[in-house]
């Protein structure tokens, strides 16, 4: 087996690990981490595809390599947005859970006072 194929199989395992983490870990932040592991596997497979297409003196097919760079930036934006959302949910509800029953019915509506309280809590 060539090194490239080996890395391709490694990427497949990373995808499996990422999926497992996304499904099984209850904490949203850990799901975001798992999403990044999964994304790493997908991008790595793209790199393997690029490496297989090495020709004309290029170490790899430049088209997929360029696409991976685009993908990495998009995936960072996704992570940043998801993290911002988790932090906001935590600030408003006091929990960052994805379970419907984690938010009790008494969760206060977002009044200015509640916001202030949340802000104070975060700053201290």
């Amino acid at each position: 087996m060539t090194e490239t194929t080996l890395l391709g199989l490694c990427a497949a395992v990373l995808v499996g690990l990422g999926l497992f983490g996304l499904i099984v870990n209850p904490q949203p932040l850990r799901k975001v981490l798992a999403f990044n592991v999964l994304g790493g596997g997908v991008f790595m497979l793209f790199g393997v595809v690029a490496r297989r297409g090495a020709a004309m003196g290029f170490g790899g097919d430049p088209v997929p390599q360029g696409l991976v760079i685009t993908g990495l930036v998009v995936s960072f934006a996704a992570t940043a947005l998801a993290v911002a959302l988790i932090l906001r949910l935590h600030a408003v509800a006091g929990t960052a859970s994805l379970r419907a029953d984690a938010l009790d019915a008494t969760t206060a509506p977002p009044t200015a006072a509640a916001d202030d309280a949340a802000a104070v809590q975060r700053l201290t």
């Binding site: 199989l9 975001v32 790493g40 595809v49 430049p62 088209v63 390599q65 993290v83 200015a112």
Partner: protein, 315 residues
């Protein structure tokens, strides 16, 4: 690149071990630290795969910025861990999930093994057309010429993600300062670093930008280094993120995409297609796009790291 015959195997084992650690370890902090290491090992993989451009991007964004982001979030969420872990799915679900994931992995692995030989490649087409872009680095040519529209849309995606992050602010602080206020510790090492490192970082960023046309590097890597320097200064409390309503911030943010759009439309009239470059002018057109786009991406990345507004402007 292949110094040792078994370098690939070694790196693969390390990578898998780190990935497993990130997924199964209990503490979020430990998982994030593992993830940063995972990103660094992944960039070694990119070197093995002869993709130095991606290796740079992976270290800078995939491992660096993402790592800082997750570390910050992890520390703010500490305390919710135990409560949530109490609601982890039971052993049956975990075992079933593991088996199913393994089955999917096996299927995917088979598909990888059965990919056709010889592998199809666009490398010959890139090589044949590279001269028309007047660039030496084929990856940069893909990003800024052959598939420039993807890049343009991607910068718009960054902007929308940023507005999305801002939208999570409470109404009261809309347009205010994002993120926590970090206070400068006059004797701290971080402040020292935040004053000494940025000049060096800006030189590195300029080099990456300049080198990108012919060797590994380019606007994304350059922008990330710039954003990292800005972030360092923010974390040290030497400076703070500007209010999200500030006109100068918004102008910097939209500048890159706007120039992208304008140059694209100029291409329609001078070279017959959107984002086409007239012969002999490719380098000028590309530079005209790359400079503002690099700045816009750097600001967008920095603002994304800073997060939603948390303090009103008046305060």
């Amino acid at each position: 690149m292949n110094v040792l015959p078994w370098a690939g195997a070694l790196v693969a084992v390390l990578l898998l071990a780190l990935a497993l650690w990130v997924i199964v370890v209990r503490s979020t902090f430990a998982a994030v630290v593992g993830f940063v290491a995972y990103g660094i090992i992944l960039s070694l993989v990119w070197m093995l795969l002869h993709a130095p451009d991606i290796a740079l991007t992976e270290v800078a964004i995939g491992s660096g910025l993402t790592g800082v982001l997750l570390l910050g979030a992890g520390s703010r969420l500490r305390g919710t861990e135990g409560n949530e872990n109490a609601h982890a799915p039971g052993a049956v679900v975990r075992v079933v999930a593991a088996l199913l994931c393994a089955a999917v992995t096996v299927g995917l692995g088979l598909a990888v093994l059965l990919l056709p030989e010889p592998a199809p490649s666009l490398a010959p087409l890139v090589a044949a057309n590279l001269y028309r872009t007047e660039l030496g680095n084929p990856v940069t040519a893909v990003l800024i010429a052959f598939r420039a529209t993807d890049t343009m849309l991607e910068v718009v995606v960054l902007l929308l993600a940023l507005v999305g992050a801002w939208s999570l602010a409470p109404d009261r602080v809309w347009g205010g300062y994002p993120g926590l206020r970090h206070h400068a510790d006059p004797n701290g090492m971080l402040v020292y670093a935040a004053r000494r490192l940025p000049p060096l970082g800006i030189v590195v960023a300029l080099y990456l930008f300049y080198a990108g046309s012919n060797s590994p590097g380019g606007e994304f890597q350059s922008a990330t280094v710039l954003a990292a320097m800005w972030l360092l200064a923010m974390l040290a409390g030497v400076t703070h993120a500007p209010p999200t309503a500030a006109l100068r911030v918004r102008a910097l943010l939209v500048m890159g995409s706007t120039v992208f759009l304008v140059v694209g439309i100029v291409g329609m009239f001078t070279a017959g297609a959107f984002l086409a470059y007239p012969a002999g002018w490719a380098k000028v057109f590309i530079l005209a796009i790359e400079v503002p786009v690099t700045l816009s991406i750097a600001v967008a990345l920095g603002m994304l790291m800073a997060g939603a507004p948390e303090r009103p402007v008046q305060a």
